[in-house]
């Protein structure tokens, strides 16, 4: 009945919108199922656990804000874990992205054997968090390892161990992360491929130098991909776990110098039976990551432009 008062054209528009809306939801069905069943449900369960004392072996007991009180006012390992993680994020993300972009541009095209080079540069990322990494890192950065030998050639006294020195251990993990730059490199490569070749040629005709073409064409057109990599690598770096877990045998040592946030969370939850506290830690990490991601998204307005006009 009310429909009669709405003009026909507007009614059509609404119908059309819902029609399109329906197909939108059709496409989303798998994701929606996964989201509610496998992500939101478990995440809400862990949100509840964050306000409990839950030792995994017996049912959780509600304790209000106790976990957060302890976290913010008493737990010095929590503060250490935050510091380690922030240091790691601030160093590893820019270095890794910079190196990935540099190599991606060098390997974009025009070099003989480019396929093989790419695969070679990707190799370190293939090994991921394999148990073999622990041994490799000892061989590289421990006393009598490769760095020790190299430093001796430069006149250092023998017996340098970067890996087992609390002042340097984190650096070796940053190196590990930068070394595994394959994922952003591949994404940069795919992005570079989408930059129309004729733009470069036109610029070259106009006499633009390599650096100019890089800053005027490559960078702006690559901005969406850089943005994507920046977000993903930042989130990943905050969540970094496996490598530190493998290299320090799960301890985060020496003396907590590589105690990544998630490593601490894992120790609390799975080694010390404090799943409630671990959940509280996890939710706080989520808030930190969300804040960083939101900031990056806000900044995108000023440097990322999409082709489709958004």
């Amino acid at each position: 009945m009310a429909t009669t008062t709405i003009p026909r054209s507007r009614r059509d528009a609404i119908a059309k919108r819902w029609q399109r809306g329906r197909s939108g939801y059709m496409f989303l069905i798998p994701w929606l199922i996964g989201f509610f069943a496998l992500t939101l449900g478990p995440a809400l369960a862990s949100l509840y656990l964050a306000f409990t004392k839950y030792d995994v072996l017996t049912p959780p007991v509600f304790t209000g804000l106790d976990n957060f009180g302890y976290m913010f006012f008493q737990d010095y390992r929590f503060r250490q874990a935050l510091q380690v993680t922030f240091t790691y994020v601030l160093w590893s993300v820019p270095l890794k992205l910079g190196l990935a972009l540099l190599i991606a541009i060098a390997l974009d095209k025009g070099t003989r054997g480019v396929d093989l080079y790419r695969a070679i540069f990707y190799l370190p990322s293939l090994i991921g968090g394999s148990v073999a990494i622990a041994v490799l890192w000892r061989q590289l950065f421990d006393r009598d390892g490769l760095t020790d030998q190299l430093l001796q050639l430069l006149g250092w006294p023998p017996g340098t161990s970067l890996l087992n020195n609390p002042d340097h251990a984190l650096k070796t993990l940053i190196v590990l992360s930068v070394w595994q730059f394959g994922a952003p490199m591949v994404i940069f490569l795919a992005g570079l491929r989408q930059i129309p070749q004729h733009l470069h040629e036109a610029a070259r005709m106009d006499g633009a130098k390599t650096m100019q073409r890089f800053s005027r064409i490559t960078l702006p057109l690559l901005a969406p991909v850089i943005f994507f990599n920046l977000i993903m690598q930042t989130i990943d770096a905050f969540k970094a776990f496996t490598q530190a877990f493998v290299v320090s045998a799960g301890t985060g040592g020496p003396i907590d110098s590589t105690l990544f946030y998630t490593l601490y969370l894992y120790q609390e939850g799975f080694a010390f039976f404090r799943m409630g506290y671990a959940s509280a830690l996890a939710w706080f990490l989520l808030i930190i990551i969300a804040a960083f991601t939101a900031l990056t998204f806000l900044s995108a307005k000023y440097w990322v432009h999409y082709d489709d006009g958004r």
């Binding site: 490569l189 969540k239 671990a278």
Partner: protein
């Protein structure tokens, strides 16, 4: 174009131009050589640890940590032969399991994530912004938090000790990374293409299937590479969900080589680690070609 200009009558600078061209060519050759030298040197630098791993896999255990050289004094395949059957089940099974799970993960991620990404990148529907934000938010949740609730869920369905908890989520687009990746690329495809198709009466399905997918080969190849490798590398999921050694994946099997209470067979570990790298290496070599080929199409259409 230049040839036409060169042939057009008398050119007083012809000789000079030819000389500068030859010079330029020589400069290009020198540049290419330098580039290759730099690339080769940096490859070796990058690869040293891995080369050491491979070379150690040919050495006896006692020589591994005392010997820095990359070329073993004597090649021995003993570590490979013994390592392959060192555990109760042979590595044939572990590799088969790993490939099977990783292949299913690739299929699941490509299908489910591209559907989801298409909806976010191209379709309009109520609450889209909210869903998109939530999708991004799922990226940020540390895995360890949802581990126990998820485990309880799968246990109650009766899926623990099957590969379903490892594979099924991929068919439900739970890897937000790939959704986000595809959204970013779909947005980069000019809108005029699907606007035009829409004018011709194409529905969203046909636009997705006929326009977006063919233009997205690079990003699909990228997603395939990552899905394969990350699933292949993952150990926490298989560790928690698989109880039977006949269902173990390669990384899980490798972890049982290292132990804290007895002898560690380093040589065998290295040999099996080397073997575990080979398939992914070739997988990468192959799929990255798709990235390049796909590009040609999408770049031309611009």
């Amino acid at each position: 174009m230049t040839t036409v200009a060169e042939n057009a009558g008398f050119d007083p600078y012809r000789e000079a131009r030819a000389r500068s061209k030859a010079l330029k060519q020589r400069r290009d050759v020198v540049r290419a050589i330098i580039k290759h030298i730099v690339l080769i040197l940096s490859s070796i630098g990058m690869l040293y640890p891995l080369l050491w791993l491979v070379s150690s896999s040919f050495k006896p255990d006692t020589a591994i940590f005392s010997d820095f050289s990359l070329i073993p004094e004597a090649f021995s395949f003993a570590n490979y032969v013994n390592g392959w059957t060192a555990l109760r089940t042979s590595f044939t099974t572990f590799f088969t399991n790993s490939f099977f799970i990783a292949a299913l993960a690739v299929i699941g991620n490509l299908m489910a994530c591209s559907l989801t990404a298409f909806a976010f990148a191209r379709l309009e529907f109520p609450l889209k912004k909210l869903w998109f934000t939530l999708m991004l938010a799922t990226l940020m949740i540390p895995y360890h938090v949802t581990l126990i609730p998820q485990y309880i869920l799968f246990l109650n369905i009766g899926w623990v000790n099957t590969i379903l908890p490892l594979v099924l989520p991929k068919f439900l687009a739970t890897d937000a990374f790939f959704v986000f990746l595809m959204v970013q690329f779909f947005r980069g495809i000019p809108r005029e293409l699907d606007e035009a198709a829409r004018m011709d009466g194409c529905g969203p399905w046909r636009i997705y299937w006929r326009i977006m997918l063919p233009l997205s080969v690079p990003v699909m190849a990228t997603a395939a590479i990552f899905s394969f490798m990350w699933t292949y590398d993952d150990f926490l999921g298989p560790l928690i969900y698989l109880n039977d050694i006949n269902q173990y994946t390669v990384p899980l099997a490798l972890r049982t080589f290292v132990d804290s209470t007895g002898v560690s067979a380093w040589g065998q570990l290295f040999a099996m680690s080397t073997l575990s790298l080979l398939p992914v290496f070739f997988f990468f070599l192959f799929f990255q070609r798709l990235i390049i080929r796909g590009v040609a199409t999408s770049a031309m259409k611009r």
